[in-house]
Symmetry: C2
Subunit: 403 residues, 2 copies
């Protein structure tokens, strides 16, 4: 064969300045047009990319913009991902077990522990339990976790690598972390160089009070100012804004943590469901659009929470105590010590399903057997009223004879 | 307080036979109605459940039914999950690294290896590389992997825990595993008791031939008959049926493997995006609906693959060899030994992006430096023609002077 001819042809080829790509097995736009999910034929993101095709590991920029303020993460450090923030938390624990984090010397596997404010969220605890991460409880107070306890533990035990936090309208007490608490979390000394706050900001705009959402101090800023820029992993989702299980989850952190996570994510997926992200961006439009929608959620939910409080007040004053949250999804009911399991059992026998006693504590063990998480959002007002009146009867019976 | 009164009230409560639930923080239907993604207000699965809310870890039964035959997995053993089968493969490797599989004594972490037919799929290899799983190559032949090599290795090395398989229209050669190959994979002796075939059936209905999809032997049946019922993990997705990145991924296996996986999945997520699954079920309707859609994909793709073959035949006969696949997404081009990297470099300089040389081999190392994966699906016919003619020029130049 004639290499001179080949060289001349190649020179001519190069002169044409092509920009063509045969690298990946992507469908063509014409193929994607074959499928028309009801969505108005609008599949272009703001950057012009076709959301129906592969690409875009970080999620749609326009959706990251909308949630940046609520989650208190700059849009460039906020990723819009799959349908579940729990999955992100689980997966980040897995990555951290197996690979060193920025600031860490190795994976956490073998001998690690998490601080767990109690009462807390059972699915957080399940992740730790699954991977053999020891859970060390700290009391949850009205303005966040007991920081004296947290500081003492974090400073003294290098096995303590993480801490579960639901900083606003906490699950299940509804408490909001005060600025002082957040400041102390951001600046406290930790024996582990790779300690992380798992900042599950699940309810940033999920308010019940007529005054709108509570404000909490931005944790990434506080960590940055305190010289611990990589300390917080922030999570959020639209599960209770749009659809539960069919929403969009978010992850935000420092640039170093975000690139650590993206390095792992790139081996796990080609990218998130951008079509669903585009649906969200189109529906919600702006932060104002989100707040408007949350106002309509509040109209449905506030009467349910008011009813719970009213029935508990009428039936259990002097017998039990409970939270009156200004947002979030739960009421925490503390019955007399030693009665929670009995209440749950009595209620079950009467056809009223309650979260298992102990679920608010690691390993399902509530040492005082007193805390019951109530979830009033799902039932109709009429069903909720029946359930709550029945619950009052169960508590009174179980507590009968006690002081 | 009066326990007699409380007891009487409780008896009356129980007599009412309530069925109420305060367990989980789920939104109410009324809240879900606030959001109306364009979808016609139809959110009920065949079993009556509201797809917009939490629940249903296994995915929609009607969608599992539709894909059961194509993936050769009984619907009860097939799960419909998230948007990415790669994620399922990655996550199952993680679970298997950390926890024993049915038939295994412990996790794979520490010292494990996978068999990798080459040329193969780079994202499979990336998962192994990430977790330090050694990759041992075996040659890919026209009817599947070289089974003499596979059997000898699997029988002798207990570190070999898995094998990547794309059994139909393999990535990138387009080969289909013969029934004899599948029989041998199912029945071969393995030194590891927890050996698994990672059966990535990515292209079950993605045919180019006018005769319709090729048939391959059902691997789960073959494993069951051979007395190795837990040997195969089956994966699939609608990425190249509906939308790439916004489709639905599937996992199927033996009952023991499915329950093992569900145990892990339950800690990682509350459930998949059922709204997207319902969209898929409504759009595709039936196996026939899927095949009808795939026929339309074929009308778009077959001319592209024909063009690739024609241009290679005209320009590279006697210089290179290539596959003429009857389905799938790729053509494998073998240039003279030692030329692949040079071809990719020349093409890049001329504005034609090709998958990096070596990408079809573990660690990116093609020992003969000859294999190039071509992905003709995405470009228009006109762009494809330019890219392929340019590629021919690059191959001729790089191969110039060689025998």
């Amino acid at each position: 064969m004639s290499t001179t001819l080949d060289s001349a042809q190649y020179a001519a080829l190069r002169d044409r300045g092509l920009r063509l790509d045969l690298t990946r097995g992507k469908p063509s736009a014409e193929q994607l047009d074959l499928v028309a999910f009801p969505a108005g034929g609008d599949f272009r993101a703001a950057d012009g990319s076709d959301c129906r095709n592969y690409g875009g590991l970080t999620g749609l920029p326009e959706l990251r913009e909308i949630f940046s303020g609520f989650l208190q993460v700059p849009p460039g450090q906020l990723l819009a991902l799959g349908n579940s923030s729990l999955t992100l938390m689980h997966d980040i624990v897995v990555h951290a077990l197996l690979f060193p984090l920025p600031g860490g010397a190795g994976g956490w596997l073998g001998n690690s522990a998490f601080l767990c404010p109690v009462p807390g969220y059972d699915r957080h605890f399940s992740v730790c339990e699954k991977f053999g991460i020891e859970m060390i409880t700290v009391p949850m107070l009205a303005d966040g976790p007991d920081m004296d306890a947290v500081e003492a533990l974090a400073a003294s035990d290098p096995r303590i690598k993480g801490m579960w936090c639901v900083p606003k309208y906490s699950n299940p007490t509804g408490a909001c972390y005060s600025s002082a608490t957040i400041e102390r979390l951001a600046s406290m000394r930790t024996a582990a160089g790779d300690f992380r706050l798992f900042w599950d900001n699940a309810y940033p705009v999920h308010y019940l009070s007529p005054d709108g959402p509570a404000e909490i101090a931005p944790v990434l800023d506080a960590c940055e100012r305190a010289g611990n820029p990589d300390r917080a992993f922030v999570f959020g989702s639209t599960a209770k804004i749009t659809y539960a299980g069919a929403g969009v989850a978010f992850f935000g952190s420092s640039p170093a943590n975000v690139s650590w996570f993206l390095g792992h994510l790139a081996k796990q997926t080609i990218g998130p469901d951008k079509v669903n992200q585009l649906r969200h961006a189109r529906l919600l439009r702006s932060p104002e659009g989100v707040l408007e929608l949350m106002g309509r959620h509040r109209e449905i939910l506030a009467p349910k929470f008011a009813l719970v409080n009213e029935i508990l007040r009428d039936g259990l004053t002097g017998i039990a105590s409970w939270t009156v949250p200004e947002g979030g999804y739960f009421v925490t009911l503390d019955v007399p010590d030693g009665c929670a399991a009995a209440v749950v059992r009595l209620a079950a026998d009467a056809g009223i399903a309650l979260t298992p006693a102990g679920a608010t504590h690691p390993y399902g063990r509530d040492p005082r057997d007193r805390t019951i998480r109530l979830a009033p959002t799902f039932p109709s007002l009429a069903d909720l009223e029946q359930a709550m009146r029945g619950l009052v009867t169960c508590v009174r019976l179980a507590a009968g004879g006690r002081p």
